[in-house]
């Protein structure tokens, strides 16, 4: 197809992920035979556009961190494809990745364990320069001190050790290290969830300012839906290794299409006691997320979904764009046209509406 007939894509994505899979083999016995696999990430596709923030939410164990470590190539994918600026990086070796390392950085969840306690702040933040064998203008020390003030730390703390800093300050150190080489893409895995609320807000604002100043692109992973709404332009909702909904921020919160998204949103506690009385119903998902070793057939949410019908158990729903910039993988979405209107027979054993929707007294 010629470029003229192709509908013009306004921006080329910075990162393009297609059918990404990661299965962790489960080994048993003296021979370490493979007896199964944890299907941590199981065929996900999405783009990240330059300058935007893509938020990723989902319950614990749904594969968010694994996804983050795959796209930064800290893990080797089992299948699928990852492209950074049009270049296939899916199976690059550590050596081949090195030139790209400066463009793609990761911030980790735990500000306590992600910094080496025996190294000074100067050494930690300056490490990327040494690894990449680059000498920044004005020297490493000067650059590190600039980075420290950029993230709101005192440049004179250059010779201090991580234990001398609070959790929020340590997270700033991790951010300074990630920014050392002026990356294009920063993947932040739960960057604020270990922090106290007041400190969490400081770090959220810092990430925001740095994006404006340095033109960064973010993938931010979090389980807190209020934080995700605040920081993201677009949001991916994950369930058991799959993306079940991918949408611009506003439609996701105002007109969620996937029943799982709806349930997640309805479970968020709201800091307003008046709403407690006003709230008419809350969707109360029962039980736990099924095991990713043998996930349910068809739609993986069918064991907990109150809308499940026969087709949900047999056929996996594709991720389709059912409204502009709003994709969902569901046969019977909310706020959109039913994709399987003829399949009306309720799935035997699925929870009923009454069981999942709890009406407050």
């Amino acid at each position: 197809m010629s470029d003229l007939t192709k509908s013009p894509d306004p921006v080329e994505p910075l990162l393009k992920v297609d059918g990404l899979v990661k299965h962790f083999p489960i080994k048993k016995g003296v021979l370490q035979r493979t007896v199964g696999a944890v299907q941590a990430v199981d065929g996900i596709s999405f783009d990240v556009r330059p300058g935007e923030t893509l938020g990723v939410v989902g319950e614990s164990g749904c594969g968010k961190s694994t996804m983050g470590r795959l796209i930064t190539r800290l893990l080797e994918p089992t299948g699928g494809r990852v492209e950074f600026e049009g270049k296939d990086i899916t199976h690059l070796s550590v050596g081949q990745m090195r030139p790209l390392r400066k463009d793609v950085q990761m911030i980790f969840q735990d500000p306590y364990s992600s910094l080496n306690p025996r190294h000074t702040i100067g050494t930690i933040v300056g490490a990327p320069f040494r690894l990449q064998r680059v000498t920044p203008e004005g020297g490493v020390k000067k650059s590190v001190q600039e980075l420290l003030s950029l993230v709101g730390l005192n440049p004179e703390h250059y010779n201090r050790y991580p234990h001398e800093f609070s959790g929020g300050q340590r997270q700033r150190i991790g951010i300074a290290r990630a920014l050392a080489l002026k990356p294009r893409l920063v993947v932040a895995d739960e960057p604020v969830s270990a922090l106290d609320v007041s400190i969490q807000a400081q770090v959220v604002n810092l990430l925001d300012d740095l994006q404006d100043e340095l033109g960064l692109t973010y993938v931010i992973i979090a389980h807190d839906l209020s934080v995700i709404r605040h920081v993201s332009d677009r949001i991916a909702v994950m369930y058991l290794g799959k993306i079940v909904e991918l949408s611009d921020r506003q439609p996701l919160y105002e007109t969620p299409m996937h029943p799982y998204t709806k349930a997640l949103l309805s479970a968020v506690p709201v800091p307003d006691p008046k709403r407690r009385a006003a709230r008419t119903s809350r969707i109360l998902l029962r039980g736990d997320v099924p095991s990713p070793i043998s996930p349910p057939s068809g739609c993986r949410f069918h064991t907990r979904c109150w809308k499940a019908t026969t087709v949900c158990k047999t056929t996996e729903p594709p991720l389709l764009e059912l409204a502009p910039a709003h994709r969902v993988a569901c046969h019977h979405p909310e706020n959109a046209q039913d994709q399987q209107p003829t399949d009306t027979e309720r799935l035997a054993g699925a929870p009923t509406q009454d069981e999942v929707v709890r009406t407050s007294e």
Partner: protein, 359 residues
Amino acid sequence: MSELESQVGRPSVPGPRTQKDVFLSVRDLRIHFDTDDGLVRSVDGISFDLRRGRTLGIVGESGSGKSVTSLGIMGLHRSQRARITGEVWLDNDELIGSSEDFVRRQRGRRMAMIFQDPLSALHPYYTVGAQITEAYRVHHPVAKKVAKARAVDMLDRVGIPEPAKRYSSYPHEFSGGMRQRAMIAMALVNNPELLIADEPTTALDVTVQAQILDLIRDLQKEFGSAVIVITHDLGVVAEIADDLLVMYAGRCVERGTAEQVFAAPQHPYTWGLLGSMPRIDREQTERLIPVRGTPPSLINVPDGCPFHPRCPYADVPEDNVTRTVRPELREVGTGHFTACHLPQEERTRIWTEEVEPKL
């Protein structure tokens, strides 16, 4: 008007309990620890009353003294280095001055506790059912069969599927949410009149959190217990608490009904907590309004108001009083207390003109 004046500005002095339906009364509780680095003032003069059937939420950031307070009420600070003063009245019994043996007999029967980490409360080598059965038999001299039936019933009540089968499971065979339920079953097996839940949902996903909060609410309704829920999440307290106590640096800085504290918060730290949280129920704001700086060390608590190094209004009260005089908890509305030197008019003006519009 004169009636109002007589309430406003009256210091709340700890004294004998006045209301007769109060079940738990904490009076000027102080818990300090001797450490090599100095004296840690973890709890420094906390007072509150709690009636049966009511839920008190205690909020505050990490290290503000929430857990130490609850362990203090339960009589669980056994360390020689803990210095505890004040009074804890459980109905008509004062616990701080009572023998260890007496307090132990109250624990598990009249008062029980749910911890943040259920694995710390459940023994890894015994089945979940056996532990609940044992918790019952400690306080009830019944046959094992009777106690076991009670345990299965409790597992059922907290929503464990197939309770008779799961009775024989070990804690590690349960998911995080199920362990939390099992611990709640154990805490409630003796129908305690006081239940303290310390960060009961912090490690859990929102979906499981909603289930557990619902469960606590239902069980409270059923048993009419007095409940304390400790958390750093204002959303959680708004869901569940009738009354609210905001802690900062080992002290109570604000106390009132949940409606009062959320609708007209009085303390600059409470404003800071509200400004720090992104809210899903409001229009998207451009920026969060964090509290600057970090919480103080409880070894070197700042003089005067402990919040002054972080408070944007520290210079508003006259004569530098904020940095020299510790503000006492004063009643600023019926049953609504705050510890802050701001003159009431100024406080109301700042809240309505400067803070509230930005939230």
